[in-house]
Symmetry: D2
Amino acid sequence: MERNASFFTIARSFKAIFLDSYGVVKNHRGLIPGVQGTINYLRDSGKTLRILTNDASRSPEQQAARFEHQGLKGLQPEEIITSGMMAHMYLVHKAKSGRVAYLGTPDAAAYILRADCPSVPVSDIDLDDIDDISAMVFLDDEGFDWNQDINKTVNLLRKRNIPAIVANSDKLYPVAQNDVSIATGGIARLVESILNRNFIHFGKPDSQMFSYAFDHINQYGQFGKSDILMVGDTLHTDILGGNKFGVATALVFTGNTSPDTVDLDISASGIIPDYICPSIVH
Amino acid sequence: MERNASFFTIARSFKAIFLDSYGVVKNHRGLIPGVQGTINYLRDSGKTLRILTNDASRSPEQQAARFEHQGLKGLQPEEIITSGMMAHMYLVHKAKSGRVAYLGTPDAAAYILRADCPSVPVSDIDLDDIDDISAMVFLDDEGFDWNQDINKTVNLLRKRNIPAIVANSDKLYPVAQNDVSIATGGIARLVESILNRNFIHFGKPDSQMFSYAFDHINQYGQFGKSDILMVGDTLHTDILGGNKFGVATALVFTGNTSPDTVDLDISASGIIPDYICPSIVH
Amino acid sequence: MERNASFFTIARSFKAIFLDSYGVVKNHRGLIPGVQGTINYLRDSGKTLRILTNDASRSPEQQAARFEHQGLKGLQPEEIITSGMMAHMYLVHKAKSGRVAYLGTPDAAAYILRADCPSVPVSDIDLDDIDDISAMVFLDDEGFDWNQDINKTVNLLRKRNIPAIVANSDKLYPVAQNDVSIATGGIARLVESILNRNFIHFGKPDSQMFSYAFDHINQYGQFGKSDILMVGDTLHTDILGGNKFGVATALVFTGNTSPDTVDLDISASGIIPDYICPSIVH
Amino acid sequence: MERNASFFTIARSFKAIFLDSYGVVKNHRGLIPGVQGTINYLRDSGKTLRILTNDASRSPEQQAARFEHQGLKGLQPEEIITSGMMAHMYLVHKAKSGRVAYLGTPDAAAYILRADCPSVPVSDIDLDDIDDISAMVFLDDEGFDWNQDINKTVNLLRKRNIPAIVANSDKLYPVAQNDVSIATGGIARLVESILNRNFIHFGKPDSQMFSYAFDHINQYGQFGKSDILMVGDTLHTDILGGNKFGVATALVFTGNTSPDTVDLDISASGIIPDYICPSIVH
């Protein structure tokens, strides 16, 4: 483990850089100051870049537009990989008929659910008419009334033994310096606990997003695992996932992990990044 | 285990009868038809009666008034024991200063929280002014905005290391023939899972409500444990609690347990009632 | 909460004193030095005394003899209440026929299992002849081959849907200054996790042992809950159980809890003793 | 989902076949009768073959030799991928100094642990001399005294905050028609529960083994995910892992899943194979 490393120096050793979005490129205050310089540097050095995010609420196109709107130029939708895309591929592969029920926003539904299958928000379901509902998808923590629609979801899943898919397994996301909000994965865990069932969860640390990104960049060049660096702010998702997939990992302090507790966090979890650097802007 | 027993015949062997409320005296359709006859019979036979309920949302006075309003006459507030009363006694004993925060209705707050301590619904809390908050109490699943106030509770408990008390440990309650609603205990479990902490839960099967009822009836007469029958519709709360407390137990089919699955439920859980009877009205 | 209190001063306000055994009266080094003086003082002051212990491995008679052997005089078997006694009463009440299987020592079996029912250690069971086995009891972490007999227990409980009873719910017990051993409750949790089932657990913090002790002392005198002080070294068993039962509680530092972390432990758990005193000998 | 399919017919549509070992190629009685024919057929048809197994107890060389010894000819060590190999790669990448402690057999230690790092079975550890122990690895459920060495592991991990790695996340494995044995993952979960920590687990359903196999076969040919069929007997490991990785999946009835309960298992889990076939021999 190399500490206090300069991100620019580390990056030189790799052909491809995978970045977590929240806590690495931006946080609750907006873009990490100076991040445009990092992106420019990586571009100029010919690095291949991917964003790997457990934020399933928006499509790659929308996330790219949002980066642009926040002032970060040059990130392409093709470079952004979301846990929602993994859920989408699962649904395409495995949920081929019937209506798909969901909790979340129309935006998330639009890119995660199959275009060729009818879908219905839980709020619009008539619990007396559910025989054709073939799957339940947890897309986002917004876009519905928690009290009414989580309860309705519990009843739907008691009456219909169908796959339940979670597009983002995170329990929490930060909304301000010291404030968090319960994420999709937290809501799904509530329903799992009530029903005593386990759902199918997508997102880091599962190696799937890494595998997808790896295959994707190999369509444009030739990359081995040792050519890749994963950068993240969270030991249990970014670093564990990268370590298990077999790429090098760098932990930064612009998000969930603080320099004050990092040693304790690493030894307690046993999740060891290859590099620790303050941020991606130095 | 005696099956297909007549409740009237069983009751003859006991001096005191403890009844669960929901699933025994009433259910989602209202009073169990004929239950007035049972109450009258128990009164006429000189039995001592107590209702033991995990419904913390209303005070004994309100629950008695509600029974009256639904058409069941003669239940006194003193005969109704709620899990909320247990939480109240804990707070009286252990939370002696500061403001108490809560999730739930003003009705539940009025009888569970201490009259002599200031209390505040989570919705009214300013998260920048919480230094004097000394406890958090989960009272009810109603009376607040789930999305906004559960998230606020998570942040309150991240910032303040204070006791969190759950006035009703049930995860679910029935609202219609086949529909359920997430109860206070389910919401508390969501927050416990997000924070990775365990709160202090009240309600059956914990033997405390049994102990309270036992002491209470012994102020008016002389009762040993073998003089008491606990009647309930749920193996994991009513019957387990009664068995562990050491009183006789009877399971009825007017609530959570169905005759079709009762044998499997008993053998799988290892919770064995002394009697099984269809309802308390025969 | 009163800190740095003298146990002798505190004890004056109460008519009955309930003491945890391990961590209060003795620990891994033997008797707490000076504890004979405390017992003598309590006797001389006319206090009623009970030991409440989650150690189910030995009968009250054996535990009294062991205290005597270690040099502590004057504790009577009638004053010692074990979680095993609670399991025994459950079995007497609810397991009336068939053979009872167990993991543990013959000593524990002798006082916890019913004298009038045949019992069999798991090691002696023939898995092809188990139709008459009516219950499985986890008595102790000793007295059997863990590898062979825990696996056999898993298979027994897969083949027979019978009650499983845990005579001591503790996960751990201390064996030296910094060393612990997995206790009965830990072994039971392994089997619960493998089978995805919940067993019936006995021991503090469940209020049953408190209720038993309360009833027992009231056979010899008249005691209200405010007359009783529970003294323990563990917040999650002794203090939580005492608080929920409604008696006063005192935490000591001769066992699981250290003065260095007590404030953090109390605020994190929300379990608040009425008194904190270094030990019962001052 | 296609039911009652012939494995030979299904296999025709794919260029590579991934097989689980236990429950597909062999079971507690030995080789599945006729399986040599299937292997021969796949070879003759030019299919690429890999065995993906959560059995970490033996190296690919040993597993190949064992197949040979049981009478199945022609499986090469290079075609066998174990969860232990994934743990090995993690250790190579992330545990670079100090002694590595382990529970398991010398055979498992020999191929999973790093050849260039000293390792020590937990039984040989002196708990007063552990400052240089840098990781703990759960290799196998055999090769140690459960009582003594699991307790010692608990104490080691209480004293040293080091990574704990689980080479096989399975909780159970079958040892006879109706008998099971607790596997490495079950033992690790006991220690996790005692310590209230989560370890780093390897094995299906994690997509890592799939990713490794995918990369491996692409060194010898050109394979897309749609060219691959994963065959397994267990929904929660083989089929879920295959589905999440994005390859086609076939469920067989020669192991954990029975035709009587398959519909219930599929609907309850939401894990849907593309094909169901009785075995790989028809």
